[in-house]
């Protein structure tokens, strides 16, 4: 599998609802889960016709294409999800202030990733520096909107969104087995960039442009090389997921024994006009959030969540691992 890195620069604010599913429209997350990215590209594939859609579904079924969550970057600093495992030295429990700070830390800067993993009592992890690097990546905004139907009284509602700071955006690591898979992905991504990703996209949000993808194998950028090393490490003590995944039922026990993980709720609507007579909610699934640490890798699910509708509804939960030696 060849890996490419796409940097998405947002032209407008972005609305991604929170994982809890509560007060979703008014909330705003910074990152985009990999299954959301897959589904968003699926809705683009639908526009190109059944053939394109079938090809796109087959690519996912056969794991010919794989992507990370869309995670933040600032200039040349890439941020990785915070690994879920607990280490006494990294989590200095003796100092309540540091413990609070550690809780606030959502991402580990790639430049400090090894420092984070190898932290010990004598060389503690510099939480404050990590926090300062990810300060003001985005500016959250709660927009006041109003629905004027012309029939009833006007109905105000809030839409949460984030604006990315200058030189900040989201990056996607994409693993493609073949050149064809990469081409189809790029075609759909280009289409998606105009239509937008996330909520309220037809009302102005979620538009982006992306830079020329970085072929990670040939890149000389030291941070890209470090990232590629992590992705290719198949002889590791721990595997940390960079995306949202779920082991198959038969893999579950083996994968999660001695594993550390946080669950995240994956819900949302079925964005299809053909599935049913009105928009229906997708069957909720609890998946492993990025940053899950396991000792043994797993192949992951590709679920069909359709419940009596006209066509299958997929959720792509195959994992992308970064191998680390602790």
């Amino acid at each position: 599998m060849k890996y490419y890195l796409y940097r998405l620069n947002f032209l407008t604010a972005l609305h991604i609802g929170n994982d809890s599913g509560l007060d979703n429209l008014a909330s705003a997350e910074i990152t985009i889960h990999s299954d959301t990215v897959y589904s968003a590209l699926c809705t683009e594939a639908v526009l190109y016709g059944q053939d394109t859609l079938n090809r796109w579904v087959d690519l996912a079924k056969n794991v010919q294409i794989l992507f990370s969550d869309a995670l933040p970057f600032r200039e040349n600093e890439y941020f990785l999800p915070k690994p879920a495992f607990r280490k006494q030295s990294v989590h200095p429990l003796s100092n309540p202030k540091d413990r609070k700070l550690m809780k606030k830390l959502s991402f580990i800067p790639l430049s400090m990733f090894h420092e984070y993993l190898s932290a010990s009592d004598s060389t503690p992890f510099d939480i404050r520096r990590a926090l300062s690097l990810q300060k003001d990546l985005v500016f959250p905004v709660k927009r006041q909107c109003v629905a004027i139907s012309g029939q009833e009284a006007t109905l105000p509602y809030f839409v949460g969104s984030v604006y990315f700071n200058d030189n900040c955006g989201l990056y996607l690591i994409v693993g493609a087995e073949t050149e064809d898979a990469k081409k189809l992905f790029e075609k759909l991504l280009s289409s998606l960039s105009y239509n937008g990703i996330g909520g309220k996209r037809s009302a102005g949000l979620g538009k982006f442009r992306y830079d020329e993808p970085i072929a990670m194998e040939t890149s000389k950028d030291p941070s890209i090389c470090t990232l590629l090393e992590l992705l290719l490490n198949r002889n590791a003590d721990y595997y940390i997921t960079l995306n949202t995944s779920l082991p198959k039922e038969e893999e579950m026990e083996e994968a999660l024994t001695d594993g550390h993980f946080v669950l995240c709720r994956r819900g949302g609507f079925i964005q299809s006009t053909k599935y049913a007579a009105e928009f229906q909610k997708k069957k909720t699934v609890y998946a492993l959030a990025p940053g899950t640490c396991v000792e043994r890798t797993y192949s992951g699910e590709f679920l069909d969540l359709a419940q009596g509708g006209a066509h299958p509804v997929y959720r792509y939960l195959k994992p992308m691992f970064a191998g680390v030696n602790v």
């Binding site: 006041q144 004027i148 139907s149 029939q151 105009y194 009302a203 102005g204």
Partner: protein, 231 residues
């Protein structure tokens, strides 16, 4: 066959425009009703949702057979197929995807430099004067000053080649109506007159031949001639 057309234009603000923002933070002496602004540059924006809502309402009202508007899902077919529906109804028995993807409009770059000298917004003082006793109740309204130009961008998804021209004709009518109407609040008191200029249609992913794209562009250019107010 599927395609994507990007429609761009310059959106000129002809009279002070007020699209309200949130005033959760109200410092003493701060303006009562601010306009919505970009979180980073603090310059005013026109949300895509305002444009979308206004255009849909005007087009539905124009094509509707009754004065009182129905639910958006029961809009006339020409409107519903452009803006989409979320529920099957008698009027539109099939769920329709949206063909229009609006975009928030930001200040045009060249005009940002110019306006930095005077600022992009003004605060207008208004009064409610009691008819009974003549007591004035003042209020301040922030508005985007006239002469401001925004970058307007709209993406149209070609889902049915036969309907493209008709859709563009309907869309052009919508823009014409908007030029005669207003954007934002206080329109009946003269706020929010806007005009679209320099329409351009660019085929991003297109199955349409260049001549058709040119024709579509001509259809939208007609909007520019029907501007009712030139300042």
């Amino acid at each position: 066959m599927y395609g994507k057309l990007k429609i761009t234009a310059d959106l000129h603000v002809l009279t002070g425009m007020h699209i309200g923002g949130s005033n959760e933070f109200s410092a003493i002496g701060a303006v009562d009703s601010p306009v919505i602004k970009d979180a980073i540059t603090q310059q005013p924006i026109i949300p895509g949702s305002s444009l979308k809502g206004k255009l849909r309402t005007l087009m539905a009202r124009n094509l509707s057979d009754s004065y009182r508007l129905k639910e958006p899902n029961e809009d006339p077919a020409e409107v519903a197929r452009l803006f989409g529906t979320s529920k099957a109804t008698e009027q539109n028995p099939k769920l329709l995807p949206t063909r229009l993807q609006f975009c928030d409009c930001f200040l045009k770059e060249e005009n940002e430099k110019l306006l930095k000298e005077v600022g992009t917004t003004e605060v207008k003082y208004e009064n409610t004067i009691s008819r009974m006793c003549g007591i004035a109740n003042p209020r301040q309204i922030e508005r985007v000053i006239r002469g401001t130009i925004f970058d307007f961008c709209l993406v149209y998804d070609v889902m049915n080649e036969q309907e493209v021209k008709e859709d563009f004709q309907n869309l052009a009518n919508g823009f014409k109506l908007l030029q005669m109407d207003y954007l934002g609040g206080h329109g009946t008191r003269g706020y929010g007159k806007v005009a679209f200029r320099n329409f351009a249609v660019q085929a991003i992913e297109s199955c349409l031949d260049p001549n058709t794209v040119q024709e579509l562009s001509e259809i939208l250019k007609e909007v520019e001639d029907s501007e009712v107010l030139s300042v």
